[in-house]
Amino acid sequence: MWLLQPFNEGATRLFLGVLLACLALVTVLHLAVPAGHPLHVSAYTVTLLGKYLSYALLAVAVDLVWGYLGILSLGHGAFFALGGYAMGMYLMRQIGDRGTYGDPILPDFMVFLNWDSLPWYWLGFDMPWFAFLMVMLAPGALALVFGFLAFRSRVTGVYLSIITQAMTFALMLAFFRNEMGFGGNNGLTDFRELLGFDLRTDVTRLGLFVATGLALALGYVLCRAIVTSKLGRVSVACRDAEARTRFLGYRVERFQLFVFVVSAMLAGVAGALYVPQVGIINPSEFSPIFSIEIVLWVALGGRGTLYGAVIGALLVNYAKTVFTGAMPDAWLFALGGMFVLVTVFLPKGVAGLLSYRLKRKEHQSDDSSTPQEATS
């Protein structure tokens, strides 16, 4: 089966090995090692890592379209956020009558905006299966419509990038509006429980962390399966010589659409896993700057090698955590400097370094880690 293909690759096995090992390690260190012991991993760290992993999944999704399809999406934050909102809406409904105003149905913000009933698009989100379906469908649908329009009319390169940006920007403004019924600027917060588990207990946090890790693993395998399949090679073909691919009889726009939608859904899942761990979702996730940051993770980790995206996401966000805590007044210098230095000195990103070692083992991703630019 094509889904199992990736397991034949050394690199993928290595990646999965490391990832799962880390999951196990953290779990053990958190549960088994007593608090106060230097090796104990606190709930704080667990949640933090969980957040990183969800970002990593998002980065993988972006790398799939950017690295292999050559589509620089500056709007993937939108799919991430939509997934997050779908999850957030479910969590809001779970609050039930424990909200400030004790309304059994309406979330607090609706109560004080004097809404007397749930808007139609909130219906069904009290059912987990529906909500989780929406986590994938909502971003998927957006990607489908948007992609259909864009690819059909052969919008390419920077033009595509900019309209993806316009898309997420428009969505951000829309979600800021209180009339939209998504809590406006405050977004959705004060979550209580997920599938009956109290979100404020460490066990749940650990659970979410592990779940995110597994989701990342699955997402990674899925993406590898795609890029190692013939379809993956067609994607690379579209990326490097779109016209040629057409003359070979491939309907480029459909391939682009397919990969784009898959990637959007992955981003949605990432968002859904992100929200319960950080405890809030608000329109700022739609902000164009955030979407650009995602691209930065990928570029920094190494574009066109999925594991590079993971490395990039972890690296940048860990750095952010450390710097904002350690040098609150100067951390932007550090982060900014990091971006500059990496681009200038590591053209292939961090993965560029590793790929030398992996060259022999893994041919595929190494070839495609030297793509021609999609823009200009």
């Binding site: 009319s153 033009y159 316009a166 403004l173 509006r177 210098f333 900014g336 400097g337 500059v340 823009t375």
Partner: protein, 533 residues
């Protein structure tokens, strides 16, 4: 204005007396008493005191009233001595004596009691001063005064104003005063007054008519609303023009912000995320200039045009040499690197200057608005920005089309290798081009400092819009940027009144997305085979 009642005779008296009253000694100075009466908590009493001052006929009263209006008239807590604060920033202020107007050294703000006024008193003072101004020789002051008096006249003013009108030379002033009187008569219930007010677009006239339209006397009510209707007719046209102006002005801002990017990004293909910060630098240059030249914001602003260009251009060169030159042919990496640069620049400003916004003063000739007619007036600062944007654009076109640099730039961007072969120093051209684009960004900053915050976030607010405009117009096409900017601006402003600010912006964005579907290469795509593939 009830306050003005009864002191008009005093005012006139005051003018007869000017120069005849001997300056009394401080101790038994009646002025001291007059000012004492101001030093009270109750605003009612203050208002009495002000009337007293006006009617006193003391020649210094005008100065007192003005200083009171500016909140500069203050009282020393311990000595009870009245002083006029010359400069009221910082901890201790230079002052002069309120009676003799002699220098009285410095006083700590701790020891001074301000004689506060509220808007009611402010109104009273303004109309009082306005009445005085009616007697000055400067015709503009008189017109200003007459305008000020519109809608704030009462019985006691009628007679004196009649006389004023009688020997007033300037038609405009006469017209305004007549109108003012008419408004007064209307409030007295004189229906003929409406005839005089007909067709005036002045907002105070409309206010008067509106309240008349609500009056119990049906005749007046009908007449007033009739008058209002045809005023509304005129206003509709005006507000149409106004909206157009708003649109163009917003558009000009977009153009300014984007035009530099049209060079660095459109022509060089560098995705310069630090563009916004270059704009910011320009704005800060303006601020710095005004710090260097305190008291003459106008000159500072003019000087900061070249200065802003230079600073931003130098910064641009630094970026090009320091980062971008290593990223030839990797446009996407430039996005990454320049984003880093933008973070650094922002934080740099926060640390070196301040995280707070900085004040950039608008020179007098740029504040206020140009009155086309009483219903339509164009705000001057935006008018200047609009003009500035067009000038910058024209200049840029000239550089790109008519100069050697422009030629070389186009050559290098079209075929680098060939251009080199023809002996064009490509690297030098790169530097120049980037410097040019950055410099223009700096100019944009100088202009924006007149419209919005000058702070570390200035750049971020414009970077997205800038990219939108450039792409919408068609990458690499300056005309495209111009048209795109202006049209987006107009669309936005036309939508805003009925869609609201947020929705308008959303609609514009969606419009851009759909438009790119129709024309995947923007408004003015680069045509021909070169653009294929």
């Amino acid at each position: 204005m009830r306050m003005i009642r009864s002191f008009v005779p005093g005012l006139l008296l005051l003018f007869l007396l000017v120069g005849f009253v001997p300056v009394a000694q401080a101790q038994d100075d009646p002025g001291q008493a007059l000012l004492e009466s101001l030093a009270t908590e109750s605003y009612a009493e203050k208002s009495e005191a002000i009337e007293a001052i006006i009617t006193s006929g003391d020649e210094r009263s005008r100065r007192w009233l003005e200083e009171l209006l500016d909140g500069k008239l203050q009282r020393h807590k311990d000595s009870g001595r009245f002083v006029i604060v010359v400069e009221n920033r910082g901890r201790s202020w230079p002052v002069i004596d309120a009676l003799s107007f002699d220098d009285a050294g410095e006083m700590s703000r701790r020891d001074l009691d301000r004689i506060g006024i509220n808007n009611a008193l402010r109104g009273q003072l303004q109309s009082a001063l306005a009445v005085l101004d009616l007697y000055t020789d400067d015709v503009d002051d008189r017109r200003e005064a007459a305008r000020e008096l519109l809608g704030s006249m009462d019985a006691t003013l009628v007679e004196p104003l009649r006389e004023v009108i009688a020997d007033e030379g300037d038609a405009e002033v006469r017209r305004l005063l007549e109108q003012g009187l008419a408004i007064h008569r209307l409030s007295e219930g004189d229906i003929d007054a409406i005839a005089e007010l007909e067709g005036s677009l002045n907002s105070r006239v409309r206010a008067a008519l509106n309240s008349a339209a609500r009056s119990d006397d049906p005749l007046i009510a009908d007449a007033a609303s009739a008058a209002l209707d045809d005023i509304e007719q005129k206003r509709r046209l005006n507000s149409g023009l106004e909206t157009l102006y708003f649109g163009l002005s917003l558009g000009s801002v977009l153009v300014l912000a984007a035009i530099g990017l049209a060079i660095t990004f459109g022509v060089m293909g560098v995705i310069n995320m630090a563009h916004g910060e270059l704009i910011m630098l320009g704005a800060y240059t303006t601020w710095a200039m005004q710090q260097l030249l305190p008291g003459q914001p106008g000159l500072a602003l003019v000087l900061s045009i070249p200065a802003g260009f230079l600073v931003a251009a130098l910064a641009g060169i630094a970026i090009e040499r320091g980062v971008i030159q290593f990223l030839k042919g990797r446009p996407l990496e430039t996005l990454l690197a320049t984003f880093g640069v933008s973070l650094i620049l922002q934080q740099l400003v926060r640390t070196v200057i301040s995280p707070q916004n900085r004040t950039v003063v608008s020179p007098d000739w740029m504040s206020g608005s140009l009155m086309i007619n009483e219903g339509l007036s164009l705000t001057l600062n935006r008018l200047f920005v609009l003009g500035f944007a067009l000038v910058v654009f024209a200049g840029l076109m000239l550089v790109m089309r008519r100069t050697r640099l422009g030629l070389e730039v186009r050559a290098v961007t079209q075929n680098r290798a060939m251009a080199r072969a023809m002996g064009i120093r490509a690297t030098r051209v790169d530097i120049m081009t980037f410097a040019l684009g950055s410099g223009v960004a700096g100019l944009a900053g100088v202009a924006l400092s007149q419209l919005t915050n000058v702070g570390p976030n200035l750049g971020q607010n414009y970077i997205i819009d800038s990219f939108m405009v450039v792409v919408f117009g068609g990458v690499g096409n300056l005309w495209g940027t111009l048209v795109a900017g202006l049209s987006l601006g107009v669309i936005n402003q036309v939508l805003e009144p009925w869609a609201g600010a947020v929705l308008a912006k959303i609609i514009v964005l969606v419009f851009i997305i759909l438009f790119i579907q129709k024309r995947p290469r923007g408004l003015f795509p680069q045509k021909g085979r070169a653009a294929e593939g």
